[in-house]
């Protein structure tokens, strides 16, 4: 071992501080950083094995270009010239709306910001989003709807301080193992907090719970309306807080009025007593921490249901205090930065696309005409970008660090889109994937440890990840690739100077600090120097909203909000008329039946999720032997009684089919509630997303992975 290089793990949103061990110019291991406030030295199985073992294996080391139908190796100059030629040709012919960018939740902040500036001020296209739309879009949407801007109110230390913990659709033991260890410290230690888990499966997380609620997929909104009604009926409400710091109580009260425990029990197929007990725990605890994840975000009425969790906390005045608060969780490690820096469509620095003053601020900062910056409509969300590509109006699609041919719903359609004549596809990745195989140009990218940059975890903690080793072959950092594109395209500001003025990661970070200054996600106090040594540092302080003042003032807020039922935007005039002035919104919505329900032909509800051993489409984790061995193949999980009815035993291979497609996988018997089957989504073969439907939440535009009606037969 020659040296340790400071970093943090990029395999889930927990963002554990770690050091990378380097020997002879290679990464040989990692260790947790004891001084880090997120993980205090711990690392989980993915962090220990998945983060670095993939580095040597099967990497892309040279650019590839399609010639005569085949991808062949080429040099950077040829690849980039081809990209720039196509880009300029399309700009001249039909303008910037021909360009789309589909990025990731795994790049660094500096890379997203650079991409954001290129897209918004260089080209002027609103078509930028990422696979973060699949994982965290609802977190961002719910935070904006309730509090006026994105940003997680709570912090990791709240796990140590809470007296009740609520996990809403969050299988923490599988998704964030180190965070879960911190929870285990509490629930197996003295002074155990009460634990409530909402999940249709009996996961290990759910097994540890005092109350486990297993609602039918698609009924979260009804469940939450029921919990809110109980709080109101039993007067477990902090009336002073509600009147001083919130808006919309009367409407919320009227909306939840009809959700009696009995009615909710019928809709969700749970026991009414369990609902009452859960509400009792929420209403009688002094320090409640809630976390929310995919069981809500990828399900029906995603944003509405996630907002109701915020409402529970607002009604109790339990937000921003030690041990109390909400973590609207992120899935991917750097998803927070896509949202902050504007690579997901939002304007950088949590600026409001519908507020001309915010657009003007950016125009001034970048020294460009405000008209260049797309702000005439909400940014184009991922599913809409794919639709435009399908219809042929997006003709240039640049995909970075993600594998949509496995992760998006309805894969057959996605493959057809990428194969379409007239769509020029660039894929930038460290490995060959199902997606690179359909590209016109493939650019080899450096990975974590081979480049420098920062990223922000689910509790706003910013870590610096230094470069430990050189990238293999000719691979380059995503930042260098974007910078090269910008300089070849010759993007200029109003004075004819280069639009993108930085040349490296630290330069990009400093530019971002200026961009974020004065905004809710203010990084101006941070620097590479401060982030080196010691722990990661949260922006905005340890907790947000300790004073009960939310970023809802009309001039300050990130968004004017939406109708939760349809996604219609609130107009600036209507928003101002409500005079939120720092008060949070108690947004209400009735429960509506999900778009797909079990039928005679498709009698089961299929839901998808993660395995503890893999991340996303396994591009990295399948290359780590320990992880691959632990979970090599996909499966379908169902309850013992459903298996019995179908005459199936453990290991039988079945065909699971929805209206859209099918997979053949072995059966595992166990953890599902009756009528619900589960499939992990990581696998590119027998992929769970052959089954899922192209449908999304009206506000967050996050696809509905969690509900597909399916049938099952033995093969």
């Amino acid at each position: 071992m020659d040296r340790w290089v400071q970093s943090a793990c990029v395999l889930c949103s927990n963002g554990c501080g770690c050091d990378i061990a380097v020997k002879d110019g290679r990464i040989v291991g990692v260790r947790g950083r004891a001084e880090d406030i997120v993980n205090r030295g711990r690392l989980g199985p993915k962090g220990l094995h998945g983060s670095w073992q993939a580095h040597g294996e099967e990497r892309l080391t040279r650019p590839l270009i399609r010639r005569g139908g085949e991808l062949v190796e080429t040099d950077w100059d040829t690849a980039m010239s081809e990209i720039v030629r196509r880009s300029q040709q399309l700009l001249a012919e039909s303008g910037p709306l021909t360009h789309g960018f589909y990025t990731s939740g795994q790049l660094f902040l500096e890379e997203y910001y650079t991409l954001g500036v290129i897209g918004k001020a260089g080209l002027g296209t609103p078509h930028m989003d990422g696979n973060t739309r699949l994982c965290t879009a609802t977190a961002a949407a719910a935070l904006k709807e309730s509090f006026g801007a994105d940003g997680q109110p709570a912090c990791h230390a709240d796990i140590d301080l809470c007296d009740a913990l609520f996990l809403f659709g969050h299988n923490m033991a599988a998704t964030q193992t180190v965070m879960w260890s911190r929870v285990l410290d509490r629930i197996e230690g003295p002074d155990r907090p009460r634990l409530v888990v909402v999940d249709p499966r009996t996961t290990p997380t759910a097994e540890a719970a005092d109350v486990h609620l297993a609602p039918l997929p698609g009924t979260n909104q009804a469940l939450l309306n029921g919990l809110l009604r109980e709080l109101i009926k039993r007067d477990r409400i902090d009336h002073d807080y509600v009147s001083a710091h919130t808006l919309g109580f009367d409407e919320l009260k009227a909306t939840v009025e009809s959700y009696t425990p009995e009615r909710v029990a019928e809709i969700c197929r749970i026991a009414p007593g369990d609902l009452r007990r859960a509400a009792e725990i929420f209403g009688t605890s002094q320090r409640v921490l809630s976390t929310v994840l995919q069981g809500f975000y990828q399900s029906h009425q995603a944003t509405a249901a996630a907002c109701q969790v915020n409402n529970l906390h607002l009604l109790r005045g339990q937000i921003g205090r030690p041990g109390s608060g909400v973590l609207q969780m992120n899935g991917q490690p750097t998803a927070q930065n896509t949202r902050e820096a504007g690579a997901n469509g939002d304007l950088p620095g949590f600026r409001n696309w519908d507020n001309p003053a915010h657009v003007e601020e950016l125009a001034e900062l970048w020294n460009v005409d405000p008209l260049v910056i797309p702000h005439w409509a909400p940014p184009t969300h991922a599913m809409q970008i794919w639709r435009y590509a399908e219809q042929g109006s997006i003709k240039f699609l640049w995909i970075s660090a993600t594998n949509p041919v496995v992760s998006l719903p309805d894969l057959g359609r996605i493959r057809n889109i990428l194969r379409q004549e007239g769509l020029f596809v660039i894929v930038q990745d460290a490995f060959r994937t199902e997606t690179t195989e359909l590209a016109d140009v493939v650019l080899p990218a450096a990975m974590w440890g081979e480049k420098q940059g920062t990223f922000t975890n689910l509790s706003r903690v910013v870590h610096l990840s230094d470069q430990a080793v050189e990238p293999p072959g000719e691979a380059r950092s995503d930042l260098d690739i974007f910078l090269d594109y910008a300089s070849r395209m010759g993007f200029r500001d109003r004075d004819g100077e280069p639009l993108v003025k930085w040349k490296d990661a630290e330069g990009a970070f400093d530019a971002w600090r200026e961009c974020s200054r004065g905004r809710p996600c203010d990084y101006s106090d941070l620097s590479y120097e401060k982030l080196r040594g010691g722990s990661g540092i949260p922006w905005g302080g340890e907790r947000l909203y300790a004073d009960g003042v939310f970023p809802t003032a009309a001039d300050h807020c990130e968004d004017y909000g939406h109708d939760l039922l349809t996604g219609a935007t609130t107009t600036p005039t209507d928003y101002r008329a409500r005079r939120p002035d720092g008060r949070a919104f108690l947004k209400a919505a009735e429960h509506t039946p999900p778009p797909e329900v079990p039928s005679d032909e498709y009698p089961f509800l299929g839901t998808t999720g993660r395995s503890v051993y893999h991340f996303h489409t396994r591009t990295k984790t399948k290359r780590a032997p320990e992880l691959q061995k632990a979970a090599p193949d996909p499966w379908v999980e169902m309850s013992a009684s459903d298996a019995e009815t179908l005459g199936l035993s453990e290991g039988d291979v079945v065909r699971v089919e929805s209206e859209r497609g099918g997979v053949e996988v072995p059966v595992r018997i166990g953890r599902c509630r009756d009528g619900v089957v589960f499939l992990p989504f990581h696998y590119g073969f027998q992929a769970a997303n052959e089954l899922t439907l192209t449908e999304w939440d009206p506000v967050s535009k996050q696809p509905l992975f969690k509900i597909s009606a399916v049938r099952i037969r033995k093969v």
Partner: protein
């Protein structure tokens, strides 16, 4: 570029609108306020058409666009606007009749109509640039 088609539609719609204001003014000459204001508004619409002219000269103007999602949404918007104003009409009658039940129905449904219009407008705003500038090119 479909912008030219939509400019064409806008141009001819402005003409029809001004003409209709004038017809209504003439037909209801016994209502002096209606007559006067309708004429005033018709003149202002003539001015709008003039303002549009240099832009039409630049982009050209062509016939009705093909049926599309955008056109369908525009039609829905027109229909929903008509429902909206009809709820208003009925609501006014409810007030006059002091019919509480009808007033409650109207006020709930007016909100729902506002939601339809808001959603349509959001979706139309999102689709329009792509549909008018790049689609079909």
């Amino acid at each position: 570029m479909l912008l030219a088609n939509h400019l064409g539609v806008l141009h001819s719609t402005l003409g029809t609108l001004a003409e209709t204001f004038r017809e209504v003014a003439a037909r209801h000459g016994d209502e002096p306020d209606v007559r006067h204001i309708c004429e005033l508004l018709a003149q202002r619409i003539d001015r709008q058409a003039e303002q549009l002219k240099p832009v039409v000269d630049r982009y050209g103007e062509s016939g009705e666009p093909e049926p599309s999602l955008l056109r369908d949404l525009q039609d829905l918007y027109a229909l929903a606007s008509f429902t909206d104003i009809t709820w208003t009409v009925v609501g006014q009658a409810a007030q006059g009749l002091r019919d509480q039940e009808l007033m409650d129905v109207v006020s709930a449904c007016e909100q729902d109509t506002a939601r339809q219009l808001a959603w349509l407008k959001t979706r139309i705003k999102q689709s329009a640039p792509q549909a008018l500038i790049v689609a079909g090119s």
